[in-house]
Symmetry: C2
Subunit: 372 residues, 2 copies
């Protein structure tokens, strides 16, 4: 049988300054090219243990149940919600952008009643409003918010809500997809019960793995569920027996990806978390300064701007989508645009993980100067 | 902050002759090391289209809805079941091993009523028994079977059941995790409505992607659901808008994995499907002959033995687990053992994708000779 011939495909060499993936450290490529091993190879087990140890450090938690899900950040979001929520449960969801809205959609598909607390895009949610919602809905199984709203570039403060939720039987569930590895999440100190992230942003790996963590309080809620978790693939009870000492087969995880995640976490440990946060903050600040000098207006509320993802309104005569296209096609630089109504209004510029470097700022702003 | 130092980890160089992953073609390593691109890069879209074209060829289908899920084969299984089944629906499941049983577990978690048709491990299910079950349960939403039962090495015939199910409103759902790319699945000819597979077996990639295909009949069932699909991450309706012309963002798929899957499929197209099936059959036959000469007894029913996965009972004085360990530790050769009761009884030896080569048979049998 002779089939249509497909040519070799070599992806273009892009500088990835969108919302992720970012470019990866050369050592991650090395890890991807290491020999393949089996999912039950005894050499893999210490790797799995070390990943859990390092993820606890990055999350800032002692939670034993801390490991990556075999899927993207969206799978991690669903894993957190499907394990916590049962059909008919209420959940309070803070929404100021696309990803808060996605939490709502995922929860509704699971049969939960969503109590929305909405805020304006580009601003934080006043913690007081979430606490009032909790007072009105003490039956809520969880209060869910987005730490770093990637669609708007806003950083939601975590501590005050955590302290309020901790006094109740409700769980505190936080989307850390864009923040983990670039900003302190401090799961234990902020009294977060359930958190999820992704591998391709500030952790510095490719997409495809989604670290999650569940507190003792969350595990107690899981233990007292009246119905089984509807997802086999995302069941924390099953997954923890694979990631724990028993090594009970659950799914064929990609050992290559697992080894590459270990390498990404090892790079983080070598740099040191505080230094890594400082680096993200400094280059993020530099980018914001440069963009303002070029006549752009920062979109996110002052005082709550994400270091790793800068949302910006160009001068009014600028065609946002057109320049995004030219940067990609002519200069091999990828930046993001907004979601929905913001699509033709803002750029979203990421400086994440390996790309949180001054040279990335210089390359982008040097070229933007020609357009602005 | 100074953290505990983690040493560099270089995985051992194993010959992977278990149930998958197998070793990968050097060109897959090259694809993994190509520059990273974004999930909305225009250069990615033709790659996504070509993957769908090539998957249709490998599945043997014209189904427009044919693409990989971002997860392992288990995610693909769940994707197929969660989209087809609604709570309270009946589903007939053929079970002769671990993976048939898993279909049952996944379906039950989704709230479906499972009608089990069980057969002995190592044998096929008599198609007549499934058809009788369908007559008793005409309300069943689907008849689900495993084409290649990886836990026992048995190949279930597909055609007769397909012809019977096609006369009804019930869907025919087939697990092709181990068969796709190594055996003809012939989705259209066998009148299969829903099928799923994995990337790390006979397709020759790493694990982490799960190709699925849905027939027009299946899409019609989805269209007439009374309840939303409970999974956002695995919703075929959402995923097809991302894999289709609209390119509506759904999740951040791993572009690197997608490019590597394209390369794996391209290797299959170059070889030709028929030649690839022949290669798997010939080395599988050779392995079975050699193992019998070494005093082993083939476990699977004659006439229905899988080419790519050979299950075998060693001579009775042999310690199955011990020799599995020695092969791995002393000789860097991985083979599999059984699940559950079969754990200390059978070896499961895979010759999949790149590893379906005579040299792999020679390496393994040469060493096994010393033990048997």
């Amino acid at each position: 049988m002779k089939e249509k011939r497909y040519a070799e495909f070599l992806p273009p060499t892009r500088l990835l300054l969108g919302p992720g993936p970012a470019n990866i450290h050369p050592r991650i490529f090395q890890a991807l090219c290491a020999p393949v091993i089996g999912y039950a190879d005894p050499e893999l087990f210490p790797v799995m243990d070390e990943i859990q140890e390092m993820l606890r450090i990055v999350f800032g938690t002692q939670n034993p149940v801390t490991f990556p899900i075999s899927g993207t950040g969206s799978a991690g979001m669903e894993a957190c919600l499907v394990n916590v929520l049962e059909p008919g449960d209420s959940v309070i969801v803070g929404i100021t952008g696309y990803f808060g809205d996605r939490i709502k959609q995922v929860a509704e598909r699971l049969g939960a009643k969503v109590v929305e607390v909405r805020g304006e895009a580009g601003t934080i949610l006043d913690p007081q409003r979430l606490m009032e919602a909790l007072q009105r809905h003490p039956e809520a199984k969880a209060v869910a918010i987005v730490h770093a709203e990637t669609s708007t570039g806003v950083q939601q403060p975590l501590e005050e809500i955590g302290a309020a939720v901790a006094k109740t039987g409700t769980l505190y569930l936080v989307d850390c997809v864009t923040s983990l590895g670039g900003l302190p999440v401090r799961v234990d100190r902020n009294q977060i019960d359930v958190a999820f992230s992704c591998s391709q942003k500030c952790l510095g790996m490719l997409s495809g793995l989604s670290p999650v963590t569940f507190s003792a309080k969350a595990m107690d809620v899981l233990k007292h569920r009246k119905t089984p978790v509807s997802s086999f693939y995302l069941s924390i009870d099953l997954l923890k027996e694979y990631w724990g000492e028993k090594r009970i087969y659950h799914h064929t995880l990609s050992t290559t990806y697992i080894c590459a995640l270990r390498e990404a976490l090892r790079i983080i440990m070598e740099e040191g978390l505080e230094q890594r946060f400082k680096r993200h903050q400094e280059v993020g600040d530099l980018l914001k300064l440069r963009l303002q000098k070029l006549g752009c207006t920062l979109f996110a509320q002052e005082g709550y701007r994400l270091p790793m993802l800068t949302s910006v309104l160009p001068p009014s005569h600028i065609d946002v989508l057109n320049i995004r296209g030219e940067l990609l096609q002519k200069h091999n630089i990828e930046i993001g645009v907004g979601f929905g109504e913001l699509k033709s209004k803002i750029w979203r510029i990421g400086l994440m993980g390996y790309n949180a470097r001054r040279t990335c700022v210089e390359q982008l702003c040097g070229i933007l100067e020609d357009y602005l």
